[in-house]
Chain length 131, copies 2
Amino acid sequence: MTHQTVGHPVLPGLPDDPRAHAAEPTSSCPVEITLAVLHGRWTTLVIREFLKGDHTFTELSRALPALSDKVLSDRLAHLTETGVLDRRRRSGWPPRVHYRLTPQGRRLGPVLQALWDWGAQQQPPPPSQTP
Amino acid sequence: MTHQTVGHPVLPGLPDDPRAHAAEPTSSCPVEITLAVLHGRWTTLVIREFLKGDHTFTELSRALPALSDKVLSDRLAHLTETGVLDRRRRSGWPPRVHYRLTPQGRRLGPVLQALWDWGAQQQPPPPSQTP
């Protein structure tokens, strides 16, 4: 399945949205907001794991064994703060904290797919010609 | 117009592509390839200007007046190296170097749109509750 791009506007954003015409980078630009959420090594892999389902810290740590606990904590905190993940304490014993994607977090699926599709088509650049 | 996401696979990538199951970040991951191309302050704004048409260095400098010549040079070199821009010397006098998007560069339009769409929907996170 490919992305539906036929009839897609050439320029991102809405013509009447002043952010689409910003003359310099601003943190209120929607593109910058999304890139800031995705920023950081491991972040997109953590989101990918959550697109498969809810996880506890331990489950996620097992799924991505090369990811240190510190970086995993940082990424979970970042994604919770930015509204991508929801942190819940489940009743029962032992008490367990589960993380899951918010509805907004789930909408990162198509964004990651668009990033994937472009990167998958990318050809390695021709070797630079030395004079 | 909104993105066509109905029936979109939940997980980015193809199920039989090993890169979709990478257990750690790799530079060969298509998502990482795209994020590396978009990386850097001003990069997405420079791409936006090229989605409007070809530009010389001077034209681009006028469109983004707060962008320094050094950073603009860096961004043009980065986008040319990564196959997003094509650099051409036009005949005539004075000789002028034009930059324009390659077909692959043009396909960044829908990627920026997906990033825009997500960021535009993003609600500011609730204020953190201090105990």
